[in-house]
């Protein structure tokens, strides 16, 4: 796609297309459920907040540090983040295997 779309506009347009395609699939297979905003609003707000800082900083990092370095740091922080937020939000355990494979994964 090159520089035809800007980072944020590409993400916004892609998101619109994904929601449209998935929406049609969900309609066909009757996968829509009640929103239950009372229960789910903290998670929805969390998702909005998290997505505010997903593309922009990555775009900036790629421009400043290059694709290779930026993506290496991003992949490593996704792995660490999944462990950290998994522990924080879902009370997952840090098993020895998980920590070892995380270290190996980041090294690789």
């Amino acid at each position: 796609m090159g520089n035809f779309f800007d980072g944020y506009t590409a993400s916004a347009l892609r998101s619109v297309l994904v929601v449209l395609f998935l929406g049609v699939i969900a309609l066909i297979y009757r996968k829509f459920e009640p929103l239950n905003l009372k229960t789910n609003s903290p998670y929805i707000l969390g998702m909005v907040f998290a997505s505010l800082f997903t593309w922009g900083p990555l775009y900036f990092a790629i421009l400043e540090a290059g694709v290779g370095v930026a993506l290496t740091v991003t992949y490593a922080s996704i792995v660490i983040g999944m462990l950290f937020f998994g522990r924080l939000l879902t009370n997952e355990k840090f098993s020895k295997d998980k920590i070892l494979s995380t270290v190996f994964g980041i090294l690789a």
């Binding site: 998935l22 297979y29 997505s51």
Partner: protein
């Protein structure tokens, strides 16, 4: 500063994925919600930074965007479905397989030749992603 940006992006991406695990919807609706929040935040950021939307004129880039969207549906639905079944930490480690497939697709589609260090990295990633399951596999063999 740039690396800080990459770090924030990765952590935010992980947080979003874990929130989608916690939300009380099916995988399909959780994925739709994940992308709906992405529309809201990216449109907001595009407005803040004064970014304009290109006009549609049958350029090839629009087709690439559609194909990218289809790939995104498969990838994100699979991630959300997986997160509802396994730990976020394990899913994060399995996510590193994206790099392995990146190298593989580079070889298949662009005739790239991976360097020795890239191959070593790929082997370590495959071993690392299997680690959380080695014990389970061992126990299953003993039980048999």
């Amino acid at each position: 500063m740039a690396l800080g940006g990459a770090l924030i992006s990765g952590l935010s991406s992980a947080a979003g994925a874990v929130f989608s695990k916690q939300i009380h919807y099916s995988s399909t609706q959780s994925t739709i919600m994940l992308w709906t929040t992405s529309i809201v935040s990216n449109t907001f950021m595009a407005l803040i930074f004064g970014k304009s939307y290109p006009t549609f004129n049958f350029q090839i880039e629009w087709l690439y965007l559609v194909l990218f969207s289809v790939a995104s549906i498969i990838a994100s639905w699979s991630l959300v479905r997986g997160l509802k079944i396994i730990d976020a930490g394990t899913a994060g480690i399995l996510g590193l397989l994206e790099i392995v497939f990146g190298v593989l697709f580079g070889v298949i589609f662009f005739q790239e030749r991976p360097t020795l260090i890239a191959i070593i990295g790929v082997v370590i990633i495959i071993a690392a992603t299997g680690m959380p399951y080695f014990k389970t596999l061992g126990k299953a063999k003993v039980a048999k």
